[in-house]
Symmetry: C2
Subunit: 334 residues, 2 copies
């Protein structure tokens, strides 16, 4: 398969995306190739230290770049030669089997929605993020693709994220929870109540009921279904806490025990790995007719390399085919 | 003033509410009294070890109790003699100047909304929680009183929480942020966009723009405005992370350095105090014509004692009068 990587996307581009493409060689099956999309000169510079790069990497020149603060739709229209626009075009016409970007999430989602066909039966694509917790990975869907959610969208997120949890995280019978503000049936918004009925009716999903924000870390769910606005707030909040709070806490610990600074930091590092988004290889946009993996803007080469791993697994497990089948059957059942 | 405490509310009732009432003596002004509402026999038992309790405490017998899992409205109707219902009635007819409960938040909010008049000019009450962060206290409003939010409700939360931040947290010119999923004007739901216009138009508020979930911990805002569903998810998520993650992290640190267990734990405790909700004295229900302070279900005596401190400060600073004045002027201006 041919896997595209946006070389210009993210806070550390092109260095980290290119380093990720180099490191990803070990993830590839025989015959697979990586296509770096972006400014050719800049990419070549970063590849220069690895003389044999051409054995698994190609370059596709895309001179324009979409900034993090640009309006996605406007930017895509004004910059048809941006790395994100070119990559989506290549995915759409079959020159790429998958796309990976750590650039503007909005632009990447919009490009995927505009250029790739929607996955058969899927109403709205949703971004599924794997939150690392001490009890294992929890897939949260959606975290920001869709802020005008209807019950069928949320229901489908439950179906799609279940398949993802099973296929990519290796959870046998993923427990699906619907995020609300209380565990009782009676609580929550109309959206929650209507979605609950749909999830409950589908016996192919292991729907365990409504859950609360704290349950992400409680080991009670493997999949958490929520609308994009709320999911995005959760994601950012977790990042803020993991970053700010943990760091401050360690600083305080060290200041109390300066002689142990090194040991504390080493132990903390071991812990932090479990919470490191770079280890999880990006978030798929579920529901599009292709494989689009969104990486965090702060991604380093490991995140890009892990995204390649996810792409390979996604393809091998036929995640999209599984989802389409479930959605087709679900539509008949209802 | 006369301050009511629900002796039956919370995971550790009646022991902790009663202990809180005893400890709160030092918070009271001359002539102030605390009224413990609940099962008289159980309350007397807990007071027995303090012979002079009657110097500042009274008891009001309320034989019924509303459980955490009961539907608030149904429970209030079926249990008119529950501690929460009796307390609200006493607030409404002037026998109490304030009410404090660590019991069912839903029932307490519903009772306050039904029995207390709405504060002049306020459309919908909102719960304001003080989130302890390393950069100082951040007031988040609403965290669950109102899940059918309109732009005017959100705008008023900004006004009310600003007054609270200034008066109770001592922040001079509180920076108000509107929670969204991106900092740009164009992002977010219609609710966010319409609220943004209202906040921007009111020059008496220090509105700094849209903020994201991570900004709670970033030291950029003192007040975060959000609808109840999202605010509640945030609150629970923070609790889950602070509890589960921190504990797991410390456990791991200790297992890496068993000989230092005691030191690590002592240092950690010093840190944890900053994140301890018990130190913050509960969350006011802003927008009702009275003082209702909601405590966490897991509250210990310190939380109850601190809630009494908040009540005294709330009254001294005339928080409700300030809010009513701002809302009245705002209505004219618009």
């Amino acid at each position: 398969m041919r896997i595209g990587i946006d070389a210009m996307g993210g806070d550390h581009a092109p260095a980290e995306p290119v380093a990720g493409a180099l490191a990803a060689r070990e993830m590839l099956k025989e015959g697979d190739r990586i296509v770096l999309i972006g400014d050719e000169k800049a990419i070549r510079e970063k590849l220069a230290a690895t003389p044999n790069w051409a054995e698994w990497i190609e370059i596709c020149h895309a001179p324009e770049n979409i900034g993090m603060d640009e309006s996605p739709v406007v930017a895509l229209r004004q910059k048809p030669n941006s790395s994100i626009a070119v990559m989506a075009e290549m995915q759409a016409d079959g020159r790429l089997d998958a796309g990976i970007s750590a650039g503007s999430t909005g632009a990447f989602v919009a490009a995927s929605q505009m250029r790739l066909r929607r996955l058969r039966g899927a109403h709205r694509p949703g971004i599924a993020v794997v939150a690392p917790t001490f009890h294992g990975p929890v897939v949260i869907c959606d975290v920001g693709a869709n802020v005008n959610c209807r019950p069928t969208h949320l229901y489908q997120y439950g179906v799609m994220a279940s398949v993802y949890s099973k296929s990519i995280c290796g959870i046998k019978n993923p427990r699906v929870g619907l995020l609300s503000i209380g565990e009782e049936d009676a609580k929550g918004t109309d959206l929650v109540k209507q979605t609950r009925a749909l999830l409950k009716a589908d016996k192919r999903i292991n729907y365990i009921g409504n859950v609360e924000g704290r349950d992400v870390f409680g080991g009670v769910v493997d999949v958490m279904v929520t609308e994009g606005f709320v999911g995005n707030v959760m994601l950012k909040l977790m990042e803020g806490m993991a970053g700010g709070v943990m760091k401050s806490m360690l600083k305080e610990l060290v200041s109390e025990m300066p002689q142990l600074a090194e040991k504390v930091m080493r132990a903390a590092k071991a812990v932090a790995v479990r919470y490191d988004y770079n280890e999880y290889g990006g978030a798929p946009l579920l529901g599009v007719g292709g494989i689009s993996i969104i990486c965090h803007g702060a991604s380093d080469y490991r995140a890009i390399k892990n995204a390649v791993r996810v792409v390979e697994e996604y393809s091998r497990q036929q995640v999209n085919e599984q989802i389409a089948e479930l959605l087709a059957d679900g539509a008949e059942a209802q």
